[in-house]
Symmetry: C2
Subunit: 128 residues, 2 copies
DNA sequence: CTTTATCTACTACCTGGGTAGTATTACCGC
DNA sequence: GCGGTAATACTACCCAGGTAGTAGATAAAG
């Protein structure tokens, strides 16, 4: 079951995960660089964060020379899903339609996006 | 601009807000009762939370006898929107279609819900 | 071999959510 | 008036995210 509580990732943690998902793996330096390379965040901040994230089971590391190479321990799908579901449940009692309704009425949605959605739903309806 | 940072509400805070949105206002006792009345949460927990929330600008209170009557200081729409947008931006770079795609492919969606969505989009397309 | 750059480890601090006990105040019934 | 009750205020924790400095180890450069 792996109740990893995969929702509730902070902004920074998510950014880090995204880097790792994209690259497959990466050292602290890699991640640091990918996130703007020091202008915003200290190197040690990334290092600390990665260590904390490993303790929480979000990433794993192997040793390469004197560097740690981190790689994701949870898939992007699981996280995305966990967070989406969490929001959906908290705000819309699980109703996808309610969420979409809300987004459609409070957001600017381009005609292209609407068409894309239409197609998605048609597709889904067919295969269900 | 009112940078109230209306996203990032904790679970309990959201529950409390929901009670207040529904009732219009309420005392600590009202909220406490609405949330199960002590089986889960201590009375003082709600009181503390409401005080903290007032400090953050989420609710306001007026005095009625010796009781505080709290009422929402932010609308449910603003919060819902703030949180949805936050997630949308963090996970899907703002693409509504991507979010829906994800939800459609990872969730069970009933045929009824699909039809509802279809209708929503058609409606929206017309009025845009 | 010594200096320097590069790693990780450790520690510390701040913020905010969550939880609740204890203290104090004030009203209400007798 | 007095005791109980119900209300807020205060204080204190714990946890997790975020941020970063400092220390210690080690490899690379000279």
């Amino acid at each position: 079951m792996s109740k990893t509580k995969v929702h509730r990732l902070g902004d920074l943690q998510l950014k880090i995960m995204k880097v790792l998902w994209e690259r497959g793996d990466g050292t602290v330096a890699d991640v640091h660089l990918a996130l703007g390379g020091g202008r915003d965040l200290a190197y040690t901040t990334i290092a600390t964060m990665l260590r904390k994230m490993e303790a929480r089971g979000l990433v794993r590391h192997r040793v390469d020379g004197r560097s740690f190479v981190y790689r994701p321990a949870v898939g992007s799908d699981a996280v995305t899903r966990g967070m989406s579901d969490h929001l959906l449940d908290r705000l819309f009692e699980g109703s996808l339609a309610d969420l979409v309704t809300h987004l459609l009425t409070t957001r600017e949605v381009s005609r292209e996006e609407l068409s894309r959605l239409e197609q998605l739903i048609a597709e889904r309806k067919k295969s269900a």
